[in-house]
């Protein structure tokens, strides 16, 4: 009871407010971020799963055993079906090749279809496909078939009324089955149409959704029964680009959460240190009155436990309120209806509260309990016990463990540790340099400021490290966010090619090129393409080679590859080893990752089988390329002349703005054999998702910046009391208020510059590790960081410190001295 009584009495006296505020701040920040990221991550995951229209998809080239589907339903899973194939559709004497998709009840399990039921009206979202006897088609199909909405088209033997215009479907892909304008029909109409015959090229997609665990168990049961014609697709496989973006976003959000813990811990540490110093006199008196060390420890640990509980509860409540407000405010930006709050962020908040308190506040309390009662007689309240090893070990260890747990990433933890170690080591060094300045020749405010820095050298090391941590967190976050978002945007630049043209016959190349030119559409280079199989390496048949090279299964040996040749290296291609065709005129340039999987060396001879004939070519170079560039790219690029005798088709890609969409119809009409792959809608969806993720990241970052500023305030507050007394004495001796304010500005400004420089170094180190290990981005040096660090440091710390001390400097000195006595 005594600890609680004392806590209550102490609270009234205002002594515990700072440590409680720091704890509440810590828990609030972490809880809000954890809640927010949890809900956002789940919302984004839901959104991304709509790319599949399900949580998992079983893809098959034949209908699967109905018992499998029954089993899924028996296990409580939702299940729907889609059948895709390419077919001619007709209206009168107009025929058009279309990408037909027949969907059953329940489709889409996740996500929505976007359609219009009038030609000019607004589109709306629906959760089911067309009814039997009806069809929804892509708008551009209507002029091709010379039809109006409401009229019928012919699919095989059945006539279907066009009841809607399909604007968007969640799981539109880029495969053969998605080439051509989409015609969406009901599954029940398929048998009557008679379009699917034995031997037809058809893709069956079985969609599943439900409880994660039930899904996992079902697919564990199903997978052993699958044949080589069947594949299970989840988000990662379905949309690797989105999955990767999400993973990076998640890493970033966890980084932000970890930094919140770091900042909060520093704030608690500063507050606890101040609390312990201020209580040295208390404890000395209590010990004189007969309290032993154990009793003192019990009292203070009891107080800390109670305080932590109360502060954590308040932080959990506040954090939950803030995040729900943030989610409400951002409801429009959320990809989907934000899922309800989960309980797990509360655990994170609770753990944070106790970790901060135990890690950073316990050590000062142990020191406090060792206070020498003789100090009451000596009237000396400095804490002579310099054994701070407990705090130095316990604080950072508990913080790093918590960050590891929060982020689940050793790399993030290591990055922060590296940044922090650099920062603390640097703080000690900078501080030494700072206090060695010669004072004799300078006067006025500078002299007071430098004198003050020299007197508090040890504490200033701590303060520089604390301010530096705050700045490090802010700088690292701002720059990581910029790198991440820029990288995403660079991956999908605004005018990235969004249409591919394939199967262009040689005689069509010039005409097609001219047509695109006439319409003002810039295409990438038009590449010839010959399909061939890699059958032997250095004379060893592919399968044997695969075994001898370590047995790793290489897909490229099992299918036909697109082989091409060109004189010009595409802008996203780079020769890493060997020579391009300006230096040699024979051989093949191999994509570097495939070369690594095949364990190829320059000069190895590759044999290809092309249309029954064989061609051999030595490996002339290894080449990196960017599959995300949306340009035609090839694993194998031959020297010009090598493959020219083989029959080739051509491929190109181009960017088509939405207002020129109908050009696709002209292309299809003028070059009927050319296949158009339309990626514009997919790219737009990916871009939307990335925009939402970016927005989320920016919101979380804003929260972190607030936390960073609060740490600065805590740091400044921790050092105020020590400065006030001196200020009061200088004022008593006739020092003017302006002189004191200038000296405060200088002192905090210098601390800010030192902290900012170190933060820049720490942030650079942190970013280096993060970009390579977490975000997998190339390392970049950030000169701006080094410029911004000291400037922001001086401005923030200087102004925060001066503002915090301003009112006290204005108070009558006698009042200050009496209060501090």
């Amino acid at each position: 009871m005594l600890p609680l009584k004392l806590l209550f009495r102490d609270w009234r006296g205002g002594e515990l407010a700072l440590i409680a505020t720091a704890l509440v701040l810590a828990v609030t920040c972490v809880t809000a971020i954890a809640h927010f990221t949890d809900r956002l991550a789940r919302a984004m995951e839901q959104q991304s799963l709509t790319f599949l229209a399900a949580e998992r998809v079983l893809r098959s080239s034949r209908p699967v055993d109905p018992a499998w589907l029954q089993e899924a339903r028996d296990r409580g899973l939702l299940q729907a079906e889609a059948v895709q194939f390419a077919s001619m559709v007709a209206a009168g004497d107009q025929f058009q090749f279309a990408a037909v998709k027949a969907v059953g009840a329940g489709y889409p399990l996740l996500g929505e279809l976007e359609m219009r039921d009038t030609e000019e009206g607004p589109s709306h979202r629906v959760k089911q496909g067309p009814a039997p006897g009806e069809t929804w088609v892509e708008p551009r199909l209507l002029p091709l078939l010379q039809l109006q909405l409401g009229e019928s088209l012919q699919l095989g033997d059945t006539s279907l009324r066009i009841s809607g215009l399909l604007e968007r479907e969640p799981d539109r892909g880029t495969s053969f089955f998605d080439m051509g304008a989409r015609v969406l029909v009901h599954l029940d109409d398929l048998p009557a149409s008679g379009v699917i015959q034995p031997g037809s090229r058809v893709r069956y997609r079985y969609l599943f959704a439900g409880d994660d665990e039930a899904l996992d168990r079902y697919f564990e049961w199903l997978k052993p029964q699958l044949t080589e014609h069947q594949r299970v697709i989840d988000l990662k496989e379905g949309q690797p680009r989105v999955a990767r973006a999400l993973e990076r976003a998640e890493s970033f959000l966890f980084l932000a959460g970890s930094l919140a813990v770091l900042l909060a811990s520093v704030a608690v540490g500063l507050a606890a240190r101040r609390y312990s110093l201020r209580h040295t006199a208390y404890v000395a008196v209590m010990k004189s009155l007969g309290a032993g060390r154990d009793k003192v420890l019990a009292i203070y640990l009891g107080q800390l436990a109670a305080l932590t509980l109360i502060a954590t509860a308040a932080g959990l409540l506040l954090g939950s309120l803030i995040q729900s407000q943030a989610v409400n405010l951002m409801a429009d930006f959320f990809p989907a209806q934000p899922p309800p709050s989960h309980w797990s962020p509360l655990i994170v908040g609770l753990a944070t509260g106790f970790d901060c308190a135990l890690g950073f506040a316990v050590a000062p309390l142990f020191r406090l309990a060792r206070t020498d009662p003789m100090q009451t007689l000596r009237r000396d309240w400095s804490n002579p016990d310099r054994r701070e090893w407990l705090g130095l070990v316990l604080g950072p260890t508990s913080m790093l463990l918590l960050i590891w747990w929060l982020s689940g990433s050793l790399a993030i933890t290591a990055a922060l540790f590296a940044g922090m170690a650099l920062l603390v080591g640097g703080a000690a060094l900078v501080n030494r340099l700072l206090v060695r300045g010669r004072l004799a020749s300078i006067g006025g405010a500078w002299r007071i400021a430098l004198g003050s820095l020299q007197r508090r050298a040890a504490f200033n090391t701590l303060l520089i490290a604390a301010f530096g941590t705050g700045l490090l967190a802010m700088l690292a976050l701002v720059f990581a966010r910029t790198a991440l978002i820029d990288e995403w945007r660079m991956q999908l630049p605004d005018k990235a090619p969004n249409h591919f043209l394939m199967n262009i016959a040689p005689h069509e190349v010039d005409g097609l090129d001219q047509m695109l030119f006439d319409k003002g559409v810039a295409s990438t280079e038009i590449y010839p393409m010959v399909r061939g199989r890699l059958v032997a390496i250095n004379g060893v048949p592919a399968k044997e080679y695969e075994k001898s090279a370590g047995g790793e299964r290489v897909g490229a040996l099992r299918r036909e590859l697109n082989l091409s040749w060109t004189e010009n290296l595409a802008p996203d291609n780079r020769i890493l080893e060997g020579d391009w065709w300006d230096k040699t005129d024979e051989g093949v340039s191999v994509e570097v990752e495939l070369a690594a999987r095949l364990k190829l060396a320059l000069g190895d001879v590759l044999r290809f089988s092309i249309g029954g004939l064989e061609v051999e070519a030595p490996v002339a170079s290894f080449r990196s390329l960017d599959w995300n560039s949306m340009r035609p790219n090839f694993y194998m690029l031959f020297a010009p002349g090598t493959l020219e005798d083989f029959p080739a088709t051509y491929i190109t890609s181009f960017y088509l703005p939405p207002q020129q969409k109908l050009l696709v119809n002209d292309l299809v009409r003028n070059f009927p054999s050319v296949s158009v792959i339309e990626l514009d809608k997919i790219i737009q969806r990916i871009r939307d998702t990335i925009d939402q993720v970016s927005l989320a990241i920016e919101s979380v970052m804003a929260l972190m910046l607030v936390a960073g500023v609060l740490v600065l305030v805590a740091g400044v507050r921790a050092s105020i009391a020590e400065r006030l007394q001196e200020a009061a004495i200088i004022r008593t001796l006739g020092g003017r208020r302006r002189l004191l304010l200038q000296s405060l500005l200088l002192e905090f400004g210098l601390l800010g510059i030192a902290a900012g420089l170190l933060a820049a170094a720490g942030a650079e180190a942190t970013l280096a590790v993060l970009s390579q290990r977490v975000f997998e981005l190339p390392f970049m040096f950030h000169p701006l960081l080094w410029l911004l660090g000291p400037i922001v440091g001086a401005l923030l710390v200087g102004s925060a410190g001066t503002l915090a001390c301003r009112s006290s400097v204005s108070q009558p000195p006698l009042k200050v001295l009496r209060e501090l006595a």
């Binding site: 005594l2 208390y282 008196v285 004189s288 009155l289 032993g292 060390r293 003789m374």
Partner: protein
Amino acid sequence: MSAMLRAENLHHRVATSEGPLTLLNNISLQLARGESLAITGASGSGKSTLLGLLAGLDKPSDGRIWLAGEEITALDEEQRAALRARCVGFVFQTFQLLPGLTAQENVMLPSELRGERGAARRAEEFLARVGLGHRLHHYPRQLSGGEQQRVAIARAFASFAGDDGILFADEPTGSLDAGNGDKVIDLLFKLNAESNTTLVLVTHEQRLAERCGAHLRMAAGSIEAGDSGSALAEVSA
């Protein structure tokens, strides 16, 4: 009369960067229950150090001390604290009231540390005895220096769990003006006589030292002169 406080051949040295420094040198003394002793001397003569050792706040480098019949030099820190909680009261020069606690809560603290019931009532009684019955709920910052020292005296007397009380006062008038100082001293001696407690006080004031039964003057860590009055059974240097 049994000895309430006894010290034998006390030596105290501390390590400094310039080597060991002797603070006390071969001090012995004895004080019976209910008697009073004044320790005087110049600043740095070792009087506060001696007071701290006698009260069991620290252990001497050499020598033995008995307090209320127990040899405190043979006790560990926790045991000494327990003994202080039972029978030692302190009055400090700068009052040392806890600023976050009211006058009553400050006086309750020793009883609470002992885990006693009725601490509030007891504190009220003692505050009434020092004339502050009407200022129970005032914080130290709301009290004058003299009032704060009276609260500290009330707290010191509330520190005794039984009859074996010994009060250590370290320059109790050092922070007060002459008028307030006199009032505080009168009160201290009055309560001491009423409670039959033993009093050891460190002071610079000759006037105050003369009110004690025994007087011990220190210089450079040694006893310079001892007044073998009724209270001081033995003083050796």
